[in-house]
Amino acid sequence: MKLDLAQVRHVAKLARLSLTPEEESKLVTQLSVVLDAVDTLAALDTQDVPPTTFAVTEGGGAVRVDEARDELSVESVLKNAPEKSGDSFTIPQVLDGNG
């Protein structure tokens, strides 16, 4: 299938990516080429075939016991933060006005 500019913009919004007009138009072309190629799958009848998430199930789907562990200090967690204040990450104000 072909993607148009509006679709590319919609997907970029979902993906939290701000794209330049040049990037947008390049992606319209390139994603359409890739989607045309993946459309070959439509020819396969897979109605009775179950989907596979993990092909080798031995490692997949396992869960560990949910127990608290003492692994990272607040100081170490904040070590790679682009901006921090005291014991917190900081971000720009989220709510407007007097809320």
Binding site: V11, T46, F54, N80
Partner: protein, 489 residues
């Protein structure tokens, strides 16, 4: 004997021999590590395999190794890690600008296991950003060159690890393989590269691309060296719930057992359209070589192969779009300056931090998972994945190992396929079905093209049967004798 000869002889030895010589105190870890550092200083300006060399840390570890009794089978041996594998205290970027300056708090489990086996971590190697690519050209930092022809790509995405090992800068390295990223560069650089069974090796501390496909594995100059590295990193890890709990066998014990009576399948669909004739001929010759050594070779069919690439790119990019959502400019990584609100922090940090291919894959994956398209694309791809896994199950009822090329082409010129994503994706067409099926696979050098470029043979096995894959690879290696063919950098 001059110093230069001494350096060369130290670096010419295999990882296995080097470990043995250090253990026997015939050579020190410091001496070996200094030889690697000298070689890096001499040639890596041309190859550009390393993003970061930790000379100080490596020499400190080497000195500690020399002062202690042998800690394990890799005692004192310098190794390199693809830069999507975390190293505590040493910057780890996954080749992305968005992680510039990121210093991990922990070692990845594979890093810790290599250290526990005695290895010295020499540095971090270049890769396609977040391991997304087939030429290492998508790195946010530098271009890596193929040591056998500097104007060519080393392949990717573990191109830095392959080039570093091939050019004798280090004895072995780890890479990661989501669709061929260990085996394809190994093939292009005349080294051995092994992708273990999904679940064999922990991914804890390895920066995720597509979690149902990613596996970490070794790149080395010999099959035995690869087996030793695999031994050190394999096995259940409490930090990775997807690691398999089954016992890890010895990967070296039966290595020289030969291929007498081994059943080898040659899938006809893997002689793909557009394949270089020399590559196809090399694989048929490899099959004859193994037949002469006692294997039973037959043609087999993996009928859904031509659908694998489409299924792979939908599944891998879908998972990537989710895995890469964590790069939001809040807790770590790049943050855009002067963002007015939180939404702008997200949108602009990601736009500034990610390169073109990563954006393309996030976009494709987000589309494939989006409302209205999820069933037609993502779930459809998962159904096709089932068919591909069934193809392999059927073939492995008849044969023990599948033989093919790892790459349909020899190393191509840098820049050649950069503007054509589809042509680049086609370079993984022979490796990515393995990831969809979760199987182990290896690329082992098998021929030299008329242009003097390496050609690798890929051998695939049943789930958790790395032992047989390694044994077949060793048999081919012994007959082809290409591990002594070194590049002239």
């Amino acid at each position: 004997m001059g110093t230069g000869d001494r350096v060369t002889s130290v670096l010419d030895a295999s990882l296995a021999d080097t470990a043995a010589r250090i253990a026997a105190k015939e050579v020190t870890s410091v001496e070996v590590t200094k030889a690697c550092l000298a070689r890096i200083a001499e040639i890596d300006g041309k190859v550009k395999a390393f993003l970061r060399v930790d000379a100080e840390g490596a020499l400190r570890e080497a000195a500690a190794a020399d002062a202690s009794s042998p800690r394990g089978p890799l005692h004192g041996v310098p190794v390199a890690l693809k830069d999507n594998i975390n190293t505590a205290g040493l910057e780890t970027t996954a080749g992305s600008r968005i992680l510039k300056g990121f210093v991990p708090l922990h070692d990845a489990t594979v890093t810790a296991r290599l250290r526990a086996a005695g290895a010295v971590v020499l540095g971090k190697t270049n890769l396609d950003e977040f391991a997304m690519g087939s030429s290492t050209e998508n790195s946010g930092y530098q271009l890596t060159h193929n040591p056998y022809s500097l104007e060519c790509t080393p392949g990717g995405s573990s191109g830095g690890s392959a080039a570093a090992v091939a050019s004798g800068q280090v004895f072995g390295a780890l890479g990661s393989d989501t669709g061929g990223s260990i085996r394809q560069p190994a093939s292009l650089c005349n080294v051995v590269g092994l992708k273990p069974t999904w679940g064999r090796v922990s991914r804890s501390g390895v920066i995720a691309y597509a979690s149902s496909l990613d596996q970490v594995g070794p790149l080395a100059r010999t099959v035995r060296d690869a087996a030793l590295l695999l031994q050190a990193i394999s096995g259940k890890d409490p930090h990775d719930a997807t690691s398999a709990s089954r016992a890890v066998p010895s990967f070296t014990e039966a290595l020289d057992g030969g291929v007498k009576g081994l059943r080898i399948g040659l899938p006809r669909e893997y002689f793909v359209e557009g394949m270089e004739p020399e590559v196809a001929a090399a694989i048929r010759e490899a099959a004859e070589t193994l037949r002469a050594a006692g294997a039973v070779v037959e043609d087999v069919s993996l009928p859904h192969t031509r659908y694998a690439m489409a299924a792979y790119y939908l599944i891998a990019t879908g998972e990537a779009s989710s895995n890469l959502a964590r790069y939001d400019g809040v807790r770590f990584g790049h943050r855009a300056a002067d963002a007015k609100n939180l939404r702008e922090v997200y949108d602009r940090s990601r736009a500034e931090g990610f390169g073109a291919e990563v954006k393309r894959r996030i976009m494709l994956g987000t589309f494939a998972l989006s409302a209205g398209y999820h069933d037609a694309y993502y779930v459809k791809a998962q159904r096709v994945r089932t068919l591909i896994a069934r193809d392999f199950e059927a073939v492995f009822q008849k044969v023990d190992v599948v033989l093919s090329a790892a790459s349909p082409a020899c190393a191509w010129k840098l820049g050649e396929k950069l503007e054509d994503p589809l042509a680049m994706y086609l370079m993984d067409v022979l490796t990515l079905p393995t990831n969809l099926a979760g199987l182990p696979g290896i690329s082992v050098p098998t021929a030299k093209s008329s242009a003097g470029l390496p050609i690798g043979a890929q051998l695939l096995g049943r789930p958790f049967d790395e032992v047989t894959v390694l044994r077949a690879a060793r048999a081919l290696e012994r007959e082809r004798s290409l591990s002594d063919w070194r590049p002239n950098v």
